[in-house]
Amino acid sequence: MNFDRIKEKLAILADAAKYDVSCASSGSKRKNSSKGLGDSSGMGICHSYTEDGRCVSLLKILLTNHCIFDCAYCVTRRSNDVKRAAFKIQEVVDLTIHFYRRNYIEGLFLSSGIFKNADYTMERLVQVAKKLRLEENFNGYIHLKSIPGASDELMREAGLYADRLSVNIEIPTKEGLKLLAPEKNREDFLKPMKKVQNEITLYKEERKLLKSVPKFAPAGQSTQMIIGASGESDAQIMYTSAYFYKKFQMKRVYYSGYVPISMDPRLPSLGSQVPMLRENRLYQADWLLRFYGFEVTELLSPEHPNLDADVDPKLGWALRNLDQFPIDVNVADARMLARIPGVGMKSVQKILKARRFRKLNWDHLKAIGIARNRAQYFLICDSRDFLKRDLTSAQIRGLISKGSQSKFRGLYGPQLSLFESSAIATT
């Protein structure tokens, strides 16, 4: 192996792949049954963390950053003047195996720029996975990108070797896509998703009848959207996510705050901030959809097209729906308990269990771990000191943010606190 050349390629192709935020390595059920290498039947493991605080769990690289497309938001776009490189198939296989044997990684996340055409590219990605599974007897985690426009036959083969497949939708709206990636067609993104979804269902059904039917992409599909590149609203993003979760049973939708990489006038300029707060709020909303039983229409609507910056989406919802509160934690059902701000799903389960033995008061709730600063305005329990005043949502909002410390405070700082104090003074 020519280590110097490999090092150079690795630097280029890891750098180009880093904007893909998915790093999940869990959810697969591939056991090491034949005394081979690797096992991905347990939980995912983050083997390291980069200085931006993100987990490093997979070797995340592009096969090549040569690309025939010219999407404005992408570093590897055709017109961008960057160093180009391409790995040979065997080089990726060797890197993965040598890294895995040293316990650096959980597996491989392989994506690619599109060279020649979709099928040509996809075929190479599949070959890497196939070699790892069949020649190296590798049972670690493999995440492959589905290349938009690849043939059904290739997608089927990919699913047999990979644990997870993903297509990044990148731009949430049709109009945005037209503006920033005029050569691409939204349908091309959806087609492979549909194909994979169908195959997953099909293989699952067959496995019920015959145990020896191989698993198809056991860790499911995921996708990613870039936030803040095309002037889209939070509602447009979350409605798209909700559609993916419902329609394609996506395991995850990832949100990636746009990191300015281009002078293109269609995009935020080079010096602008990465929208980290917004990204954070979108993930919170995403969790509400997946685990807390919220409908996307409750969180975002034409009247509220964007999530609040200063409060989390659940608190925002509660403040708009004060008529549903206060909730009595000793009688309410799980669905309503999950809607109390400051009460997470773990606390909901603990409350349900604990209240079988005794009525819960503030001491119990505190021990269970709920955030009283937020929760106190929205619940009653077996204590006398609950809030008896009728407060308006503006007052509650002010009181809560006075009692809380947010790492994002600087981002929505002074105007807001002015607003809060005046709101309290006038009421």
Binding site: L10, N32, T50, R54
Partner: protein, 261 residues
Amino acid sequence: MGAPQLIIYDGSFEGFLSAVFHTYEHRLAEVDIQPAIRAQATFFGTTTRVETNVGHAGRVWHGITKKVEAAGAHILYRTFLSERAGVENLLLDRIRDIFAVGNKNSGNFSDATVLEIAKINKMVGREKHRMEAFVRFKLTKDGIYFAVIEPDFNVLPLIAEHFRSRYADQKWLIYDTKRGIGLYYDLDTMSEITMRLSGAALRPSAESTVYTSEELEYQQLWSTYFESTNIASRRNMKLHKRHIPQRYWKYLSEKSLQLKK
């Protein structure tokens, strides 16, 4: 009642269970169980040295597993591996309760002993998971993937199964430098070995004689990857250090190579 009787055991889990057996055998109410390396003799009360007796230990363990389910018993073992001062007495408290009333209190977190054990168990679990993540193997000239760890708690027995199922087709050795024990897998069986590696063998200057010529190349490749996959405009060192506490850095090649630069 006088001062508690001091019971000294050899530090092993079987030794501890033998000590528990001893307290029942002699109907001792007030005891203070300590491992030999930490034992503090007192002026008052008596001191007894309990020899490890596999038969006795087995009987106590069997008694526990009859009363609580396997997961509950495993929690006691994990808590023991924390090696925290006083953990033996905490566990004795819990074991007495198990023998008295069975599994009844296992989820009762208003009980101070149960709560404390749950907390320690969580800490041990976190350390176990960290070791599964932070072990960095280096390939030696005789074909063994070798890693050095220095965990806060004695988690080596807990990570054994994970590494065996994962690296079934390579020889490996994980060495706990703090406790002088290692776990060796020879493609067939896994065994615990006791050894003292001299400081010289672990020093960087010994690297080229111990490891294959390609080993450093792979470490550098890994380190290259680690730096290239970072997004500089999102740098967040506070979060970074929370995820990888600094005390682990010297065993992580991607961090230690960075430090040398």
